[in-house]
């Protein structure tokens, strides 16, 4: 029976009513998502490794599904980051699968920089380089090979150095992160090492411009001290941030002290003045372990002013207040808080040492630690030690190598008291024709984008006949290369990676491949070993290792044999191990090396949680055995550099001033979310690089609201930041945390077209004649509408 029109309408109406009165959340129809034909659930693995994105070298774990890296999280066993991870670490998956990654070794076709390439096999690329290296050696000029090494540490650095030594080139040119504090420590302690900071056990952390929670050596170390200080029963150290701009670290610190640029050292000595005047310093430590505090008579019968007299005479709080802009009562209260909340640490940031009197300022800041005896004791400044891995074989040098090495490094010995600025000196020497460089190897260095003097570098590279880059991305300098041998990305290769010196306990972190590296690139370590093998003779004898992985395994034998320390473990295991070692005990976890190695790979590394505070060699290795507050070497260096004999007194003699043309002081700073120019930026990072809600993809400049108003600019306007040396286009952000006469420009940003906006290229070129470090905040700029 066919339905009548009436019954049909009735049925439909009833159905609609029934439909309407049901719980609407349950009756709507949605299709089941369909899987693709042939799909099967993937195999999931969680593997431990070490992050190689920045120098912090945190422990990570990767979630790998069907051979693809899906997620990166922190390794909870790693003693420094303890399961935490920073945004750049998380975004590493986007670096691994970055669309701009170089797919295969490339040989230049056509003119340099013409962006025309021919893809070649790894073997062919190696042969090209090998032939060149053979020619240089057979011509008796191995020194014309140079390596420009960006951040490079551990076994990779050792292999490069060993290779160059055996080959005969003295030109290992470091182009890495430098903060100059190792020069400070060498002068005052006789220990040539950056200081470690026991933040976790400190009660008071006075940071002079160190971006502890942003782009410090290891932000995760600071995070752990801030949020998880298990050594102090959960009580957090009091963080005080002295900074020229209101940074995120300043925002999170319990107290922020705004200061004029380049006056950190003056403030430190102003604090020292109060501490000495009120007798708050550690008199016993100063008497037993410090020299240069009191006045003395030298061998020629002259009175030498000691630290105390100098500070009391020259750094009265009123004068310091006038110079720094910090009120007198603030200086006094800071000094008292620093002295009374022991153990306290004064941390010296890069802003302090990158100044015309940077080395002095760094010494002034560290002198506060010395006054309070906050060195080589829990909660103070600690000099760490490298993990006791097995050394490489002794390098063998044939006659060619000996001759090459004797010709000395290009660019000369460097400044008076530091070894900084080597890369720029090298470039200058090449441009001036002082040295001839035939082949330059670029290892994670991109000077055309990151250097303060890109023009010098451009001219220098133009004089180098053969440029080889190991970068996995076509960055600015790699674009000029003749041969590109792309390295594997951090999640594809074996590497050892220890935390920076700021973390005082030795850790040997291990990065291992999380995914199959495929055939696109080649581990640079394996490439060097292969080159050495092929070169044969003494070079091959100096690097007799099959692969980088076996070399790392070989080095781990040192850890197995050392009879101290432990594989990475949880907080309980670390504490247990330390207590045992404090009592002179050590228990072997493994009887054989092979299971030790397997476990080491599984856990992500080795560490030793015990620190011997009783070892006098960890306090001072100077000739007197004491910490030098007024080091002789410094006084001699200052005289030689024309600064006069008065060591700290030249601190406030530098006066850089605004002019009508350039009225605003430029403050460059590093962002935690961004790279330094050698690795590609991840899209997640570029889209939201800061806490500013409306900054995406573009470089920006921070300007005080009054300044912006006076200049007629509004938030989000595009401006040129113009200095006497150049200009950068940026989006203006009105930010009340910027001082009215400053503008702040973050470092590491790229324009949407990929060009790096590097504020360092606006700098006026001033530098510290003692250390060689460039002055970051003595340049003045103006803003123009773009």
């Amino acid at each position: 029976m066919s339905p009548s029109r009436r019954s049909f309408l009735w049925t439909m109406g009833a159905a609609a009513t029934a439909y309407g009165i049901q719980d609407t959340t349950r009756v709507f129809w949605s299709p089941e998502p369909a899987s693709q034909a042939g799909w099967t659930p993937g195999i999931e693995k969680h593997l431990t490794s070490t992050c190689l994105v920045c120098p912090a070298r945190c422990g990570i774990r990767g979630r790998v599904v069907d051979g693809s890296l899906i997620r990166l999280t922190g390794n909870s066993l790693h003693p420094m980051n303890r399961g935490g991870i920073c945004p750049r670490g998380v975004a590493g998956v986007q670096m691994l699968y970055h669309p701009e990654r170089i797919a295969a070794p490339l040989v230049r076709v056509g003119p340099r920089g013409g962006a025309r390439w021919r893809a070649v096999s790894r073997e062919d690329a190696l042969v090209l380089l090998l032939e060149r290296l053979r020619e240089l050696r057979s011509a008796g000029h191995p020194e014309t090979l140079a390596l420009l090494a960006g951040f490079c540490s551990g076994t990779m650095e050792d292999v490069w150095r060993q290779f160059l030594t055996a080959y005969g080139s003295p030109n290992y040119v470091a182009d890495d992160y430098q903060d100059g504090t190792e020069s400070v420590m060498r002068l005052m302690h006789g220990i040539d090492r950056r200081p470690g900071y026991d933040l976790e056990r400190a009660a008071f952390v006075l940071s002079f411009g160190a971006p502890l929670f942003e782009s410090w050596w290891s932000p995760l170390q600071a995070f752990v001290a801030y949020a998880d200080p298990d050594e102090r029963n959960g009580q957090r150290p009091r963080f005080v941030q002295v900074d020229t701009r209101f940074s995120r670290t300043a925002a999170q610190a319990q107290e922020w002290v705004g200061i004029r640029p380049d006056t950190h050292g003056v403030l430190a000595l102003g604090i020292a003045y109060v501490i000495i005047r009120d007798q708050l310093y550690d008199t016993r430590f100063v008497a037993d372990h410090v020299s240069g505090f009191e006045d003395s008579i030298d061998a020629e019968g002259h009175l030498r002013e000691g630290y105390r007299s100098m500070v009391l005479r020259s750094y009265r709080t009123e004068e310091v207040s006038a110079a720094t802009g910090v009120p007198v009562e603030r200086i006094t209260s800071l000094a008292r808080a620093f002295a009374e909340n022991q153990p306290a640490i004064a941390v010296c940031g890069m802003d302090v040492t990158h100044a015309q009197r940077g080395l002095m300022a760094g010494m002034a800041v560290h002198s506060l630690n010395v006054l309070m005896g906050s060195v080589n004791r829990p909660g103070g400044v600690l000099f760490g030690q490298d993990p006791p891995v097995a050394p490489l074989v002794t390098p063998v040098m044939d006659d060619t190598a000996t001759i090459g090495l004797a010709r000395g490094p290009a660019g000369g010995a460097g400044p008076q008291l530091g070894a900084h600025g080597a890369a720029n000196r090298f470039a200058g020497a090449v441009v001036d024709g002082e040295v001839t460089v035939d082949t330059i190897l670029l290892y994670y260095s991109n000077p055309l984008a990151s250097s303060i003097h890109p023009q010098t570098w451009r001219a220098a590279l133009a004089r180098v006949p053969f440029i080889v880059s190991f970068s996995p991305f076509l960055d600015e300098t790699t674009s000029q290369a003749d041969l590109v041998l792309p390295d594997l990305l951090p999640y594809e290769r074996w590497q050892d990676a220890s935390p920076p010196a700021s973390y005082p306990y030795p850790v040997w972190g291990l990065a291992r491949p999380l995914v199959d590296p495929g055939t696109s690139g080649m581990h640079s370590g394996d490439a060097v070993l292969a080159l050495a093998r092929q070169l044969g003779g003494s070079v091959a004898e100096s690097l007799p290792y099959d692969s980088f992985e076996t070399l790392l395994k070989q080095r781990a034998r040192g850890l197995f044999a050392v009879r101290r320390g432990m594989l990475l473990g949880n907080a309980f295991e670390r504490r247990n191990q330390r207590r045992m070692e404090e009592r002179g005990w050590w228990l072997a976890e493994h009887a054989e090396f092979e299971p030790f190695w397997q476990d080491l790979v599984e856990r992500g590394g080795w560490t030793d949680p015990f620190f011997d505070h009783t070892d006098p060699a960890r306090l001072a290795q100077t000739a007197s055995g004491r910490v030098e507050l007024m080091p002789d070497a410094f006084a001699r260096g200052a005289v030689a550099a024309g600064l006069g004999p008065a060591s700290y007194l030249a601190l406030d003699t530098v006066k850089s001033a605004a002019s009508t043309d350039f009225p605003l002081r430029l403050i460059p700073y590093r962002l935690s979310t961004l790279a330094s120019g050698t690795l590609a930026l991840e899209r997640w990072m570029s889209e939201a690089p800061s806490l500013f809600p409306n900054v995406h993809w573009n470089p920006w400049v921070e300007v005080h609201p009054e300044t912006a108003r006076a200049l007629g600019f509004h938030d989000s306007d595009y401006v040129w930041v113009v200095s006497s040396r150049g200009r950068i286009r940026a989006q203006l952000k009105v930010f009340p945390g910027t001082a009215p006469d400053n503008v702040c420009l973050p470092y590491g940003l790229r324009h949407p077209d990929g060009a790096l906006a590097n504020p360092l290229q606006l700098l006026d070129g001033d530098h510290d004649v003692l250390s060689g470090l460039a002055s970051w905040s003595s340049t003045f700029v103006r803003l123009e509408r773009a």
Binding site: I70, A688, G737
Partner: protein, 234 residues
């Protein structure tokens, strides 16, 4: 109407602003876990960037007396969610465990919910997600990518709950507090984010939400958020 099953579990979050350093690891971890695509620069400038978890910063005062407060802002997972009420097709709904969920296949893209949400945590896909071929390899196979024209939002990493339940069942045990953690909590380097069942007295969130420092955003609107904040000390 059928009576909703008695709620025995209410997933909630406590964010300790005293511990948060504004590092945005939570933001990026969320994007990585939930396959959140970036948008082109011109779209981002129009406010169309998506970030289910967003660290919001507020500045007060001027140099040198400046202060900056920031708080991570996920979906508040309201017990009385304004977005659910306005959805004409029931694409957004509150499930039996209190999580406000979004059914992408049902969403018609009217954006009523995005307008109704006082916390502005619902994001519209103006265009389909753009991934380079190589980037598709890092997509999380547990989370669907959203097409053009639908709203998306924080799910408290609901897929992880499903996985954790299956694991617990397979191992013949009850679900433990640490079994189910959203990606933001997992990544937070200062352990500022705590997640768990607000109805379970053994879970830390249950204890922390009653802390004297506890507060919720825009409580006066009556939305009853299940994300609590602990005010900074001092």
């Amino acid at each position: 109407m059928r009576e909703r099953a008695r709620i025995v579990t209410r997933w909630g979050m406590v964010i300790d602003l005293d511990r948060c350093t504004g590092c945005v690891a939570c933001e990026v971890a969320c994007k990585s876990e939930n396959n959140i695509a970036t948008v082109p620069p011109d779209q981002a400038a129009m406010g169309r960037a998506k970030s289910w978890m967003k660290v919001v910063a507020e500045v007060e005062g001027e140099f040198p007396d400046t202060s900056l407060h920031f708080y991570p802002r996920p979906c508040m997972q309201c017990d009385n969610p304004p977005c659910v009420k306005v959805c004409p097709v029931a694409a957004t709904y509150i499930n039996d465990e209190g999580t406000v969920a979004q059914i992408y296949a049902r969403c018609i893209g009217c954006r009523y919910c995005a307008n109704a949400c006082p916390y502005t945590v619902k994001y519209f896909n103006w265009y389909g997600p753009e991934w380079a071929d190589s980037e598709r390899q890092h997509l999380n196979p547990d989370v669907s990518v959203r097409p053009k024209g639908v709203i998306e939002k924080c799910t408290f990493c609901h897929h992880r709950l499903q996985q954790a339940r299956e694991d617990a069942r397979a191992e013949g045990r009850v679900l433990r507090e640490e079994d189910y953690q959203p990606a933001c909590q997992e990544a937070c380097p200062t352990a500022a984010i705590v997640f768990g069942d607000l109805e379970n007295s053994t879970h830390r969130v249950r204890q922390l939400k009653d802390d004297p420092r506890s507060m919720r955003l825009m409580e006066d609107l009556g939305t009853a958020p299940k994300v609590y904040y602990l005010r900074p000390r001092e």
